[in-house]
Amino acid sequence: MMPFDPSALTLEMLVAALGLGVLILGLIVPHGSRHGLGWLSFFGLLGIMGVALSMWGDNRELLSGMYLLDNYALFWKITFMLSAALVILGCMRYVDSMGGQAEYYSMIIFATLGMMVMASAGDFITLYLGLELMTIAFIILVCFRKMEAKSVEAGMKYILLAGMSSAVLLYGLSLLYGLTGSVIILEVSRIIALQPVTPALVLAVVMLVAGLGFKISAVPFHMWTPDVYEGAPTPVTSFLAMGSKAASFAILLRLFIAGLPGIWENWTMVVAILAAVTIIFGNLVAIPQTNVKRLLAYSSIAQAGYILVGLVTATEAGIKGVMFYAFLYVFATVGAFTVATYFYHVTGSDELKDYAGLSQRSPLMAAVMLVAMLSMAGIPPLAGFVGKFYLFKTIVDGYLWLVFIGLIMSMVSVYYYLRVALVMYRDEPADPTPIKLPSPVAVTLIVAMVVTLVIGIYPGPLSEVVNEAAHTFFMH
């Protein structure tokens, strides 16, 4: 056995140190200067991202496979840190008016740490720890506005349902352990390939699907999503929508494609059907929504369905599609939710009808919202189109019905996305005062919009990076 090399955990340790540092500094620094904590977290994360970039190409296993370091994990880690940094940048004003900066930023950082652990997890225990670290941090974040009934109600729903889903997931993991005698994913994979498929194994897989389906909000395990998304503070919602979901996809791929390829034939159809149901349900129920956050919640359910498509064939191309989509989805989500955050900050409303005439009040906000939504709907030349293309092209051969469902439902989704655009651009504002954007918010919005456009027009470089990352997935 190789001696344990602590330098392999540089990123995780740095993020943990940053989170603790922010928490402690929050106790020390006076009230007036706590807004600096946001900048500290932002630049801290950017710095750690720089370190992460320098670790590209470092592929190895720690502790006989308990912790996997590869480009795949690193790509996800960078994605998480990037989304955390963007969320922090976009919501500083909002947090300053809410108070509790230290706790807030450190919770975001700890959630990021949990996600990073998940991305590298090579065994069930690490997986569980990362998952719970992320979930508990998110629970705290969801009910951060503890004086507000909706926020606390959302937290309540989240903790009880998440606890239950963890129990289910754990039960499945314990069964897998019992059947194989190992908790290390790669070893489990080897042993399962040799065994016949028993009902207990099927039950274990069902429970894994349910437990992780809850995290990615796949129908029918999605019920918590709209309520929690609506009740949570908006920046938290946005981080929940991209970070938590992306991390769960990272671990879902690891668990199913690296851990259960031996019984691929048993779960692939279930995943395909779940994807179809999720796409259909998310898009249909989004139509009658009147609250922007709720609308985005249902749209994010539908998006999870699209991403799930990449899992169906369990190939490198599918993994690539998932990673590509998750990455670009970060920017679309940051764009849409940052607009919602700042709009709430200014007007105190999340209702769609109050967005009337936003294009006159703040052209940038309206434009970013439009670009983000069109990208989610998959309209070329925006990033979402390329992402959907990469996902669906993996299943053209064999799952044509799923492709059709995806396409038809994309069309349906245009209806509600464009309804938002219509309200923003056609209607006259009730209150025509222009909205002035503070520069951090403006920067976040512009970054989100530009990246969405650039990836859409020139997907080559990102596609190559993702290829490289997906390639290392099968190296262990």
Binding site: I139, E153, A154, I159, L160, S174, Y177, G178
Partner: protein, 104 residues
């Protein structure tokens, strides 16, 4: 006298899981639901320890796993109780049926 085998443990754990599940679905008090979730987690722990004893008697992976589960569950209960207190202050109730402001 009947020898106690792995099957007994697994059945016990399945029963405990189901009881916990039933509680989650039927109890109206938030604290009770939280405790029922703990029951489900304990069912998992029984599973893990039993498998550790019978499947991999030489190493203690299952036991270690269950210690982690217990620890995390404690943290979760801590947060859960805090939320229940916060929501009680807000709405003067811990009845889950009262919490339906967020819907549709």
């Amino acid at each position: 006298m009947l020898a106690i085998s792995l099957t007994h443990y697994v059945v016990l754990s399945a029963l405990l899981f189901s009881i916990g599940l039933f509680g989650v679905l039927t109890k109206r008090n938030a604290v009770a639901v939280l405790i029922c979730i703990e029951l489900m987690l304990n069912a998992v722990n029984i599973n893990l320890v039993a498998f550790s004893k019978y499947v991999t008697p030489t190493d203690f992976i299952g036991q270690i796993f269950s210690i982690f589960v217990i620890t995390v569950a404690a943290a979760e209960v801590g947060v859960g109780l805090a939320i229940i207190i916060a929501i009680y202050r807000n709405r003067l109730s811990v009845n889950l049926d009262d919490f339906d402001w967020l819907k549709w």
